[in-house]
Symmetry: C2
């Protein structure tokens, strides 16, 4: 096990009705004028919006609103938020929504404290967004489980005409607190609920499939969360208002990325599936979680062949997570992948890129863009040719 | 799943040589004059003491020392520390040692900010130490894995001529940061290493064996850590300088109680095994972890009989943690207990109370004292008769 620093600065208020602490907790964190952001306005239909205003008003907090933050949030939304925050002398940001709104607000939080362009604030050669030296305080109210943004230090922002996804990563943008009410996810459509499930599972796998350095506590805890995701997702398909299933999926989302706790002490902060998946989202505006489900089995098979020394990690996944009883590592690993494919089919993910509407002639360009900032991965390093091979296997 | 608040305010610096951050981090936390506490002085033999002084001196930090904090720390040591802190105008506490030193320092941290007697600061009817409204900043350097004090909000202090163990519990006494260097535990004698293992396992079980409310993420993560403890402890018996095994046991210790994360959303903050075990420690000055290993199998068997509606939780433990393949819940649970007993034998815990030197005529008095502040447990409520029955079963 390698050295690491463990820190989860976010407090989570988890469960039914926890929004009751919103006003007082913003005040306790020093907020007086809030930039309130949300997405398409569904929170006005389900009553969350009214409850938030009641909380802010009762606590004597002023606010300005930024609505309409889109999925795969763009840097222009971030810039708009920064201007609004500054023009109105805000001192706190409240993000209400799924990962897109939360991510945009993390970039706003860092951006309002930085004199230069937002574009400076993405991950640089240090592995972090090292130009961030301060951030406005941020709280979140989660309405869709999946991205883990509610308890982590990351954000993904879309930039430029070619929809490039850029990553912002810094402990200062961790939310001060997040309100996680599983009931707020009851109305998330099935497709987006299951894409969230695929996203959570991929966050866990991206931290699991790294060189084995005997970080057993981290890996075993990770296995436990993966098993919960596999067990609970079908319950949500059967009954979207199963509170305990919603609660476990939501908490799995948060635990998956809280302090990147399952990667601590391990080499390889690489997330190659996210690297490739972002290109599918950019090109086709495809839901993030779906892109990950599409690529994962192919990536696993490719990696086992290209880097057979890491086969035991895939066999361990098969045995400990997918309950495969098979002595031979290669056979166990392949059976594990088949079981994972069966799970993706259960949660109604498309079977392959073709079925998802991807055009074969686009693969080459996407593979090139996926690696334009450097090779991906930590088990097998993926350049353009390797990324293309994986996309072809997933086609 | 019930509602909960998740918060882990402690930052952990984990790994070889992490003491290098000590001086600068105390300064960053606002410390200038440090109350440095430790136990019997082993840190002077293994070089840790010299490294600490070098760190403090290089950072320009003044310090006063309180040494000689004993296992099962007494309230008199706490009072001595409070006086020393106040007399020397300290503004920071650094605890170096195992759970005893850390626990004493948590009580000192709360005590220096409280005008009345320390005795006021133990858990009251609120379930917390509600009189604590401030605490001095505390950092820890762990030299023995087990109690989890390095990342939690609890402390156990021995009070009075009858050695009563009293619990202090408040988020304000969480360490600001803890330095966790597995190499510092290389020289811990086998018996104490294994008692620490039994303590960690019991912390995990006390959070696992509660009414089932479908808090699956918490339970599955807990199962993962339990499995690591079972797998790694025998490696330490074979080779006390197995770094990865030391690291995993140490991180398991910290994760087990960090924010009581495996109990969040579950009913039953009860810790009945600790309640009974503390009486064995008081009466015989027996190592804490040993008392827990002695009582756990008997408590499990008693509870399964007295509260058969909770049998599935014990069967789940047997299957998911002890790898028992058995369909019938009662048979699985009993096989799980037998496997646990075999593990305790492997790590050289005494087989029963008699072998551990307990006298039969003392059982009645210990059972009475164990419940004098109220019944214990959350699956089956234990009064004096029930505690006595469990102790007899463990005899």
């Amino acid at each position: 096990m390698r050295n690491f620093i463990f820190s989860i600065p976010t407090t989570a208020y988890f469960g039914k009705g926890q929004i009751k602490v919103l006003g007082q907790t913003i005040k306790a964190e020093g907020g007086s004028k809030v930039l309130l952001t949300y997405g398409g306005g569904s929170i006005k239909q389900n009553g969350i919006y009214d409850t938030i205003l009641e909380q802010l008003n009762t606590a004597g907090l002023a606010y300005v609103e930024l609505s309409g933050i889109q999925p795969n949030p763009r840097i222009e939304s971030v810039e708009q938020g920064i201007k609004l925050y500054r023009d109105n002398n805000c001192d706190f940001i409240l993000a209400v929504g799924g990962g897109s709104t939360l991510d945009a607000c993390k970039a706003i939080a860092a951006g309002v404290m930085y004199a230069g362009p937002v574009n400076d604030l993405f991950v640089d050669a240090s592995g972090l967004s090292s130009r961030i030296i301060a951030a406005a305080p941020l709280a979140t109210i989660l309405t869709m489980a999946g991205t883990g943004s509610e308890l982590d230090m990351g954000a993904v922002i879309t930039v430029g005409e070619d929809h490039k996804k850029k990553v912002l990563l810094h402990p200062l943008v961790n939310p001060r607190f997040s309100i996680l009410d599983p009931e707020y996810t009851y109305t998330v459509p099935e497709h987006h609920t299951m894409a969230g499930v695929a996203d959570i599972l991929c966050h866990l796998m991206e931290q699991y499939f790294t060189p084995d350095v005997a970080a057993k506590v981290q890996d075993r805890m990770n296995e436990g969360v993966m098993k919960v995701v596999l067990e609970e997702a079908p319950k949500l398909l059967a009954n979207p208002q199963d509170y305990d299933a919603r609660a476990n999926i939501m908490w799995a989302s948060s635990m998956a990325l809280a302090g990147f706790q399952f990667l601590l002490g391990k080499p390889g902060f690489a997330f190659p599936l996210h690297g490739m998946g972002h290109e599918l989202s950019s090109q086709y505006d495809m839901t993030h979680g779906v892109t990950l489900a599409l690529l994962t089995p192919a990536w696993m098979r490719y990696t086992m062949q290209a880097a057979p020394q890491h086969l035991p990690v895939f066999a361990r996944f098969a045995r400990n997570v997918m309950e495969i009883r098979e002595e031979d590592d290669a056979k166990a690993a392949e059976a594990g992948i088949k079981a994972l494919e069966a799970f993706y089919a259960t949660i109604k993910m498309p079977l392959n890129l073709r079925e998802a509407g991807v055009k074969q002639e686009d693969l080459d360009g996407m593979a090139a863009k996926a690696v334009e900032n450097g090779k991906l991965g930590c088990l097998a390093l993926l350049g353009k040719d390797e990324a293309l091979q994986i996309m072809r296997m997933a086609f």
